[in-house]
Symmetry: C3
């Protein structure tokens, strides 16, 4: 049936440890061999997974010390679901590598197996962080390597504050369970350590697979950094390409949790028009090659607070949208809805009775569309606009609240949303990335900006837009001695004299171009040493400043300001915008231009008369797609 539908790839075995090794050292590979053969015989290519996200019960009973400990409660997180292992456990590391090596040996060179996925959604359920004894020891060791001497560590973290000084590395605690908040520098170190442990796990597994599976790709299905606390850029480094799992409706429910019914209703069966694209563009940024969607939602899922049905057409729309944003493959999760277990309410392409679900004909059509457009032959080109993101930005703002409402993920998404509603293409980069070729580089919030990055900025021809909190922290989470934006003052001669945060409903004004926008939540008092004041607070003090090619926005704003401000910048820099209609999203891949209609209205695309439409029509129906050839 998979062949009948036109599928190419099948991912398998991601949680299969208890079937591969039902008892310590006792293996049953026959069923998996058969599965691979069956798929191969049907002409399908297999993506094999390591089953390390679910160590079986006998292994947990043999080595109970592999279980992670919840940092918030101090309680061991036990067996009974998934991801019950501690990244700091050497014992589990060895076990994970053992099963990986066995599988890689057996299947590494099998022709039908074209690639591998390591583990699964690594660090989902906050498993990046553990407060176990092994995690504490490993953290102490990590600290001793990073800081060399305990005095250097005390100095770097500012432990003199509140007499938090340590006398030796073995006295170091994890930043958990204290009477009140722990040192932010301590917490940042814990985040870095935890992320590195995860990357080490994935790196080692990747190396092991490569040793036995030459020529096969290795990927991983990433979760957003904001969920997993892992630096996805580092995690992606050893992989051939990145993948992610796309659940537009599961996430919209969380994203619009505090929205009115009216607002939610618009998107509850489509997802927010920029949500999938945001994940696609983010994932594309982690590694250079085309990314994969390893799991595409094909119907209602089970894990959101509420689980709506996708509007008719959305499965196809999401599929084509992924390709338009540079996907190399879109794989649906799951094939058949399960009869049992935690995900029995998670839709598949087939229902539990093997009947075809509503997604089936849409997938069929999408496959035909991709073929018709020769979509995979089109190369996704570099965008004009880059957004700089960083795991450390997530960590810093999670650690230092200062405002109950400064949520890095929301802020970055809001900047992205403003750009995408202008029809601007966006690449995500991180501080280590090459910036050449970009006309405009935007940092919604980049608190830690080191010397190397400053040099890169200076060397670049791009224009820059920085949001508030940029350069606001040193690499060890202290305050810059020259005040924020710290090192960025080398480029933008201004100083942040004070910062206030307001409850989100206490909105104040932001005056730009004779129009009043909104300043909210995070508001910096700026001293401009050399630069032009573009926008002002209600009291006339500077809020947005331009210093040469760099604009600094000292406050969070409404989306309208971002749109108008970005539009002006794009116009000045000759960056293409495409504002085609309400909830219409325009994106380019190679020589193809795509329009996706997220609204419930039919809309007319303002295309040239001679536009060569390859798919759909000028008059685009709700939840439909139109593709035309770029002139």
């Amino acid at each position: 049936m998979m062949s009948e539908l036109g599928l190419t790839y099948v991912r398998i075995a991601e949680f299969a440890w208890s079937r591969i090794e039902p008892r310590d050292g006792e293996f049953q590979f026959e069923w998996l061999d058969n599965a691979v053969e069956t798929l191969a015989n049907a002409g399908l290519s297999v993506v094999m997974c390591t089953p390390t996200a679910t160590p079986p019960k006998w292994l947990v009973d043999k080595f109970p010390e592999i279980l992670p400990v919840d940092p918030d409660t101090g309680r061991t997180r036990g067996f009974g679901s998934r991801r019950h292992y501690d990244f700091s456990s050497d014992v589990y590391f060895d076990e994970a590598m053992r099963i990986t090596e066995l599988m890689a040996k057996r299947y590494g060179k099998h022709d039908a197996i074209v690639g591998w996925q390591t583990d699964n959604e690594i660090c989902c359920h906050n498993t990046n962080l553990s407060a176990s004894d092994v995690a504490r020891s490993a953290f102490q060791q990590w600290c001793s390597l990073r800081y060399a001497s305990i005095d250097a560590l005390n100095d770097a973290w500012g432990n003199v504050f509140w007499s938090m000084e340590y006398q030796n590395f073995s006295a170091i605690e994890l930043p958990v369970g204290a009477v009140t908040e722990t040192n932010p520098a301590h917490r940042l170190a814990y985040r870095r350590f935890s992320s590195e442990k995860v990357c080490h796990f994935n790196d080692s597994m990747t190396k092991l697979i490569r040793a036995y599976a030459p020529g096969k790709f290795v990927t991983h299905n990433f979760m957003p950094m904001t969920y997993t606390g892992v630096d996805n850029y580092s995690l992606a480094a050893p992989l051939d390409f990145s993948s992610h799992d796309s659940y537009p409706l599961g996430r919209v429910d969380q994203q619009l949790k505090n929205s009115s019914a009216e607002e939610l209703r618009k998107y509850m069966r489509t997802g927010h028009p920029d949500a999938s694209a945001y994940s696609h563009d983010q994932t594309r940024g982690f590694s250079k090659d085309p990314f994969w969607v390893m799991e595409q939602q094909p119907g209602p899922v089970n894990w959101a607070d509420n689980n709506a049905r996708p509007a008719p057409g959305m499965i196809r729309l999401w599929t084509l949208e992924a390709f338009a944003h540079g996907a190399g493959c879109v794989s649906y999760f799951r094939w058949r809805q399960a009869l049992f277990g935690q995900e029995q309410m998670h839709a598949g392409l087939l229902r539990q009775d093997n009947s075809k679900s509503a997604a089936w004909p849409e997938v069929e059509e999408a496959i035909a569309d991709v073929a018709k457009l020769s979509l995979l032959d089109e190369t996704k080109q570099q965008a004009d606009v880059a957004m700089i993101t960083a795991a450390e930005s997530v960590w810093v703002s999670a650690i230092e609240r200062q405002s109950e409402s400064y949520e890095f993920a929301n802020i970055e998404f809001d900047y992205y949303h403003a750009l995408r509603s202008l029809g601007v293409s966006v690449d995500f980069v991180n501080p280590d990335s090459d910036l050449s070729g970009y006309k405009l580089v935007i940092a919604p919030g980049l608190p830690i900006i080191g010397d190397a990055l400053i040099k890169k900025f200076k060397a670049s021809d791009a224009s820059f837009i920085f949001g508030p909190r940029s350069g606001a922290k040193t690499s060890e989470f202290s305050f810059p001695g020259n005040l924020p934006p710290g090192e960025l003052q080398q480029i933008a001669p201004l100083r942040v004299l004070s910062i206030e945060t307001l409850r989100p409903d206490c909105i104040e004004g932001l005056c730009w171009n004779g129009k009043r926008y909104e300043s909210l939540i995070w508001r910096e008092e700026l001293e401009v040493i050399d630069g032009d004041v573009l926008a002002q607070y209600d009291d006339g003090l500077p809020a947005v400043v331009r210093c040469g090619s760099l604009s600094y926005i000292g406050t969070l704003t409404d989306t309208l300001f971002l749109k108008d401000f970005f539009r002006m910048n794009c116009q000045e820099l000759g960056i293409e915008t495409n504002e085609f209609g309400i909830d219409l999203r325009i994106i380019r891949r190679g020589n193809l231009m795509f329009a996706f209609n997220y609204s419930e209205q039919k809309q007319d695309l303002p295309l040239d008369k001679g536009a060569q439409i390859l798919l759909g029509s000028r008059s685009i129906k709700p939840h439909d797609v139109t593709v035309w050839k770029r002139n």
Copy 2:
């Protein structure tokens, strides 16, 4: 004073262990003997309780292993309040039976003691569930008895999912403390096990009492299943009759927690017009004989978030309403308001200074009313309408959320409320009950429907109305292989193709009889194989279907739809309805008809001119009662 007031029964000793056995093996029965004699001499009948809800401190210190462990936190639940024992503890079981036997021996044949209450509000405070080591062992044993082989258990639960397979029974964990959600089948087994443990405790105690107290009744004061997690039908099996504790104001505060002040204000001093009756009818359903109200709220209590004073007249109204719904006795809790302890703000018939509280004259009047009407001579007849309920329905929907707002208890209450506001009498039955004599059987949500029940439905002459989620699970919490409503397809040839859940404020339409109602929260996509589509969703797809004598409602709806739909069904089936006015409730007992006015307005009852009014008048005052003879 109790005699003066006209009371008949006095319940005593329910928490008296530390006074009966102040030290290990040292007994002081004299005070209790005296109390019994005093009551007997005043012509009062005594209901004696086992004091097992409060093991004394010396017992806890001797056997600390009897303490339960909170499944959510993993913390031991210690001494200092009540119910600090684990139903899986054999040690505590033995101690509870020891004190029970001692009391039964001493008092079993005392003439003044007419009956017994086992324990008190068993499993209140979620004590049905414990995560202790003894609970884990007992669960393993229970599993081995139920499933015989570990392969059968793995198969039944679908443990292959996420490699959750167990290698032997002694490896089984309780479904607590895992990294993310545990297997629903595992959780259902834990609920079943826990409920059976509680029933075993109660069964054994009941047997012991009967051995020493021949001819005396044994009852228990039940909590709602939704609070205690016990299958009250099973718990009631060995008892002579069921009792419950009626706190209309304590519950209204919780029930209307999210309502506006305007909505709450209507009922804050009366309780919801259907709340008490719902508990009465539920309790009557647990066993055949007249139920008792073992505790009737006589004034403000102490345990709700807010504790209003009953409106004048309500103590009498609640009392008569209980009898009208089939009570054999209404006992007030408490006699005198306590001077100390956790419940010193809980009203009694007497104040702490022995003065008569506002409830006194109302109770006096109610006692006279009951006598005047010879109420206890009237037999409560079987209703025309039965609602099928089941502990498993509570458990399934608590375990599998799928929607943040699908609350089984609210849904069942809403169905009941619609029927009662039509003035229809309702019996509650469970899947094991005899359905003969019912004209209409309604299941608001009955996810597990076995073969035996299907046979019963087929054999019945009744019409049926099933709400969404019916037949949606197998007995082991897997998805039916033929899709929901599973086995019910034998009667209703339709299939649920998909299910979506929406945030409760995102309401959609339901079109029936040319009128637009509301479809909300839970919405099933139905494929009708053979049947008539009665109501449709906004997109024209079937929402309510009739297959022969069975109507299937594939969505949650507004109450208005339920009322209109039930009214139509009642009319078709010749079931009496009594819609007499706003917040007026009409109910029958024997040859008496009762009207209770929950509103704040005087209303005229639309009685026949010749109606023989026995109590009150045709023009019924707020919070008053009218009784007339049925023609």
Copy 3:
């Protein structure tokens, strides 16, 4: 720079243990010696602190048993922030006294050191309560001292309820971790014990300092009793005077958490007009001498949910307001904003780069104002109105909820706010205080009223106003046998027949003087034995009663009622009121009258033509201050 600014006092060393004793028994005092000398040489006076709020890591590692245990979670509260010690730990007590003695010996007689602060914000972060084993043992010992026999304890607490009786003192548990709520008497004892432990710690430290530092003052920077659970009156007893830490914006964010944006916006950059004054007056009440503000917020802080910038002028206004309410010193926290640690976002008088923050010129101006007015030469006189407060009032209402919305702190503040918006001066007293000289004594809520207090009331010439819940508990948290207001019935012959609590939005009427006010949340049914009914509920029953010179308010009310009622009482008693305008606050110190304009409007002060204005002007600008000489 401190001298340049005109500062007089500098507080140091409050968290410096790890620098003074970096390793067990290894001391480094040189840096502190130098600091003291430097300050002395600049003409500054030093307030030295004991560093006991932050035991260093080596001490925690040597004596892990000093760590407190969280009563809510049972989890040990570890190292990594501050206040990680258990007041019941004898080991820590000895360590704290050891370091105190060492410091007192070294610095006790140093001329530049004029006084001492013990510890820091004692019991902040709820460290008054610990559920450790040492706390349990200490509590058992405390109980044996207080109650002498276990029977007396069981009797006092009413442990017969729910079989909670103890057989001996060593069996006593802390009132934590039980299945449901523990005995309120048990909890009150735990609060008393905990508070006494804290006072013992502070008393001992104070004695030790005095032994080595004759002639130097000892103070402590108090937190509100509602935050710390300590009886501040007892804590203050051994001190020379009391201090407190004033954070008007940090607290306004919490205080108006549930208010609309409109309400919050009015005060988000000024604080509530009565919030600072409330703390000043409270602190002044703890001991007789002029109090200090040990920490005055000089800009945005870091610890509130949102952290606004003070409106221009507010630093000066708050400073002068503190003096007007009787301060002897206002000290700003902190001098320079920190570069690292948990408080790096907490503003100082200097920024991190040593530049002067916005507060600097305001402080400069305030110092000049104080000098100009010779403010410290003016003696704060006793007010006409006293409010009786008590730690036990906080504890009782925290322990016995009865209403989700009866918050003692809010109620007391509301009474105070009503008085202050009338321009009435208020002293806070506690039950042990001398009442002579007061014309009006107000108790917003004083549940425990003993015999001694009754005698004091009887002997007083003052009039009294009591709020609901007065006299509602015996000293052991039982219900008064003669009903509330218990012993107060000796003065006010009335009885509380019943109490109801309503959700705060279900407001009912209160009729007084022909006007309808609001009765809400807590509503008592009063039986008036001898007295005049002043105000009535909607049903005509008495709500406010006057018995001779005592008025009893049987319900919580709106602020408008309090204002009107207090105004009438003031007029009757010849108490001066000063209602000068919106959000204008008038207060007297000695012969000076102060007006503080918390509003955003310029307002005209209704002063006599001949008024001698010493500071500011008759037309008072927003956030400005006017001072005139009293006639």
